[in-house]
Symmetry: C2
């Protein structure tokens, strides 16, 4: 049994963003310090002694990327000895969802650069971060099917087609427009506004919808479970 322990504890964040142009994207930083200097990696860092894990993640994201996250959930903890070449580090990974347009990325000194990468064009990463991302993507795919978290990635008002494209981007498979709308609408937590979409080219503009969180919570309390 260990008598004196020498393990560090860190948090890492897999931050997903979505835009209809870029599809599903991921927030990465370029490391400015060893190890893995100059390679891309997940934002994250050591947890402070008096700080909760969630606070640590938010602080690191603020410091390293300038982003403030709304939807955040614990993903998994990675603790294999040797996953960090310096010393033993157990990392508690979180994943989060943000609207990329709501922030301007700002790298700090530890991070030479910050950028969004399309989920299908992730560069070679340091540590075991590729594995963490894969697990996060799996989780997101699953979660999207039984919790209405997709709205965290969209603007407050959005055309139905955006929601549908988001689902197709995350799940990476085609979705039938009519069946999708039927399924989502039946819960009644989407409010249709009178506003219309601004299309860039030709086409019939769609109505904008708004996610009504209150209605969703009421439903949930009544035992109605969202499922796509």
């Amino acid at each position: 049994m260990p008598t004196s322990q020498d393990i560090k504890i860190a948090v890492d964040a897999v931050v997903f963003g979505y835009t209809s142009k870029e599809g599903l994207s991921l927030l990465l930083i370029r490391r400015n310090i060893k190890p893995f200097k100059n390679t891309w990696a997940l934002p994250g860092g050591l947890v402070g002694n008096e700080e909760s894990l969630e606070d640590a993640i938010q602080r690191e994201l603020r410091e390293e990327t300038g982003i403030n996250i709304n939807y955040l959930e614990q993903l998994y903890s990675f603790g294999r000895p040797g996953r960090d070449p310096r010393n033993r580090v157990v990392s508690i990974a979180y994943y989060g969802l943000v609207k990329p347009d709501a922030f301007e990325l700002q790298a700090d000194t530890d991070a030479g650069d910050v950028a969004w990468f399309n989920i299908k064009k992730i560069p070679k990463l340091g540590f075991d971060h590729a594995e963490i991302i894969q697990r996060a993507h799996e989780r997101l795919k699953n979660k999207l099917l039984y919790e209405p978290i997709g709205f965290e990635l969209l603007d407050e008002k959005f055309p139905f087609s955006e929601l549908e494209k988001l689902y197709m981007a995350v799940l990476d498979r085609p979705i039938d427009r009519r069946n999708f709308k039927k399924k989502v609408s039946k819960y009644g937590f989407l409010d249709e506004t009178t506003e219309r979409q601004q299309l860039e080219g030709a086409g019939r503009p769609g109505y904008l919808y708004r996610f009504n969180e209150e209605k969703y919570f009421t439903l949930k309390k009544e035992g109605v479970n969202f499922e796509i």
Copy 2:
């Protein structure tokens, strides 16, 4: 940002067992040391410097309870400052499934006592262990519905009624015998043996079944997903 970190890292195990007499049970130890001396708690302890998290859990279980676990899965990490009254401890919780009859419980010096408790009769626990157990139970309920892990709790050969009772015990709701058998059987990973159940009283003895893991993996590879 923290410069020197003083956080300990521990693992805790929520071990579920099942017997048809006792129903769904949980393995707890009575603490022999402070804090929470003499109160019941989850088995667990600090992680060694060179030890993987899974190894740490298995070692602690061996030391504190005499049990060796087969099915083990990471549950969640608990890190709220103050959850341990001594110093900051982040605990990575696992949950596991065992056949209680396969082991004799053996407390060691850190643990004054070890025992199985019915899931509905859990005593007052130290730390935030009640919360951990609740989360584990939720996870088990969900997992049981889309992965055939129930067999980890049963003998190699078992009558169908045992499987059904297990599901009722974990999910805490009645299940229709005929529909349940239809659903499980359609996957074809249960082999019927020619042996019959040994009933204790009167009644028609049922056939014994065996979970065919190979067939299940083949199905899974083909994209067939188990669901109850």
